[in-house]
Structures are given as structure tokens and as C-alpha cells.
């Protein structure tokens, strides 16, 4: 056999065997991975839409909405993913809102890689032992009809206001800005669609 033929043969055989193994492996892991992601999403919907027992996903204008309903079939709220740039990472937030899209019910930070100990306080603040989720909790039942704004170093007074994290102003303001942008956009799409 010519040397070059042998080289091609060895590489082809190795690559084909490897491809075969991976195809076999992919066939049974991909199902589990997809199932897991679906479960994760279902759990997340229940967290951000308290009181919902079932939810269905709807694609409207390229945005995925999760409409949560209670036992009587009444819409308790609508959830969607808001994402945008943080201080050093992309922040992904799952937002649950009331059906009129005027009030945030609950929001949950799904993904972030902010500065540990500072920006990560948008998820949980270990320095505040009694209430580590104080930042996220501020968004609960927050009226956002006129957008969200933030104040520094003092308690929020006006509706739609939250207190920024000391030492992580950029992360805090990023959360506020990405929520504002995405809520405005989603509100327009969702209310126009008339989904009930």
C-alpha cells in the first residue's frame, strides 16, 4: 500500500469509529439533556409566577412567553426571559409579570458571572445573613408602569424604585436597564397579541 493511502485510511477509520461512538452516545444523552432543560424551565415558571399550576409557551414576534394559569384556568401571569450586558458578563433574568404587564410578580436571575462578592449580590448577598436575597426581593410586586429606577445608599421612596448594591452600582443598574428595556418590548408585543 502506498504511504499516502495508508495515512488517509488510518485517519478515515479513526474518525468514522469516533463518529459512530458519538452518534450512539448522543442519541441517549440528548434526550435526557432536553428533558432536564424542560423541567428546569417548568420549575422556573412556577417560581416566577406564584400560584400557577400549568403553563404553556407561546412564541410571539420572536419572543418566548410562558403563560401561567391557576387551577381554574385563569391567567395568573406571564413570564419571559430578559437578558443584557452586566458589568462583566451577560445577565439573564426570568421575569414573571401580572397579565396586564404593569407589575413584576417575581424575578429570578438565571445566569450571571459578575464579580464574586460584589456583583454576585444581585443573586444573593452573603454579607446580609438575615436576608441574603434582599436585592432580588425588592422587585417582588414592584409596579413598573413607569419603568424602574434605582437610588444609591438610601431606602427607595417612590413606586418603581429599588436600592442599588453598594460596590456593584454597574451590576445593579444593568439589571434595572435590561429589565426596563425588555419589559417595555415584551409588554407591547404581549398586550397587542391579546393572548388570554
Amino acid at each position: 500500500m502506498k504511504k499516502s493511502t495508508y495515512l488517509v485510511l488510518v485517519l478515515t477509520v479513526t474518525a468514522s469509529v469516533s463518529g459512530g461512538i458519538l452518534a450512539y452516545f448522543g442519541s441517549f444523552t440528548s434526550k435526557r439533556i432536553a428533558e432536564f432543560q424542560k423541567n428546569e424551565q417548568k420549575k422556573a415558571v412556577q417560581v416566577v409566577l406564584p400560584g400557577s399550576v400549568s403553563s404553556e409557551s407561546k412564541m410571539l414576534d420572536g419572543v418566548e412567553f410562558f403563560v401561567g394559569k391557576d387551577e381554574a384556568g385563569k391567567i395568573v401571569g406571564v413570564a419571559f426571559v430578559a437578558s443584557g450586558a452586566g458589568f462583566q458578563s451577560t445577565i439573564k433574568i426570568f421575569v414573571g409579570m401580572d397579565p396586564t404587564m404593569q407589575t413584576i410578580l417575581v424575578m429570578k436571575v438565571m445566569e450571571q458571572a459578575e464579580t464574586p462578592g460584589l456583583g454576585t449580590k444581585i443573586v444573593d448577598d452573603q454579607t446580609n445573613k438575615s436576608n441574603p436575597n434582599w436585592f432580588v426581593n425588592q422587585f417582588e410586586n414592584l409596579n413598573v408602569a413607569n419603568g424602574i429606577s434605582f437610588v444609591k445608599g438610601q431606602k427607595p421612596k417612590k413606586p418603581g424604585e429599588i436600592q442599588a448594591i453598594t460596590g456593584a452600582t454597574v451590576s445593579s443598574s444593568s439589571v434595572v436597564n435590561l429589565l426596563n428595556a425588555s419589559i417595555t418590548k415584551s409588554r407591547e408585543i404581549f398586550l397587542k397579541s391579546g393572548v388570554k
Binding site: L11, F25, G26, T29, S30, I33, P116, G117, Q126
Partner: protein
Amino acid sequence: MATRKVTLWKEFAKGLWDENPSLRMLLGLCPTLAMTTSAVNGFSMGIAVIFTLICSSTIISLMRNLIPKEVRIATYIIIISTFVTVVDRTMAAFLPDISKAMGPFIPLIVVNCIILGRAEAFASKNTVGRSIIDALGMSIGFTLTLTFLGSLRELIGAGTIFSFQIMPESFTPWAVIVLPPGAFLMLGLIIGTVNWLNTQITKRSAH
């Protein structure tokens, strides 16, 4: 190789100390620095490397007389990436939280110098048995180093080890140790300590 006098135990043990991949050969530093933000991350990275290294060393050693030297690196990469993909998919399916924390570093094991290094320097020249022992020693050495470094960084940076609270409540974690600069500082200190220990050992045995 009849002339070889290295015992199997020595073949195994060299990866733990004398030729420890992270501390003595300074190979695979990318995951060593990036994946040791906590003990569990370092440990999981190590487990992924143990599996990949043992499997790829076995196959490469079995095929060592079949692989022409002109295309050996390409063949090694195919074999290594196959096992890495298997690890990556398995972790995503069964350990989704850890898989999320590892991000791109599992797929990046493909280009990890330790694995290609062992394939090139050892598995391609030695019998299957010795290759497995060598792979086991090297990868366990790597895992121990990463777990140790991860525990140390987690202890100072978060006050915990494997998420168990170790430091008293009053301790303020040094967040910098969990950040990238902390990885360099702690790894530097550990390598320095290991070098110092080694000179002490050599001095003692010379007496």
C-alpha cells in the same frame, strides 16, 4: 522493553509528586487556574481529566503500532476529543449544575497539554498496562492538586470547603482569592512551597 527497571508503583507515583503535571511540569495550567474557584469545581475537573486521560491513553497505546507518525497528532486529537465529548455530554445529562459551572473548560480538555503530552511522551511508546498506570498517576496527581488548590481558594475566598462552613462567622472572605488574580497568587505560593520542600528533601538525602 526489557531494559526498563521502573517498577509499576514508580510509574504511578511519579505523577503524584516528582512529575506532578500542574506543580512540577506546569502543564494544563489553564484549567488549574480557571476551575479552582471552589473545591468541588476543581475535583470535578480532575475527574473529567482522569476519565479522558485513562481512556485515550489506553486506545492510543493499543493503536501505537498502527498510527503512522505523520498523522499521529491528528489521530490523537480525534481519539481525545471523542472521549472529551462523551464526558461533556454525560455531565450535561447527569450533573447539569456542575456542567454549567465548568462552562467551556470541559470541551477544552481536548487541547489540554497533559493529555496530548502523555499520549506523545508515554502511551505511544509503552504497553497498555504501563500506559494506564501512568495515566492513572498523572490524572490523580492533577486531581489532587486541583482539589487542594480549590479547597484553599474556597476556604480563604468564601470561608467554606466543599460548601461546608469552616471559618468562623466573623471571618470576612477575601473575595480576591476566588477571582483570577487569586488563582495566580495561590498557585504561585503552592509551587513555591513544593519547590522548597523538594530542596529540603534533596538536602536531607544528600547528607
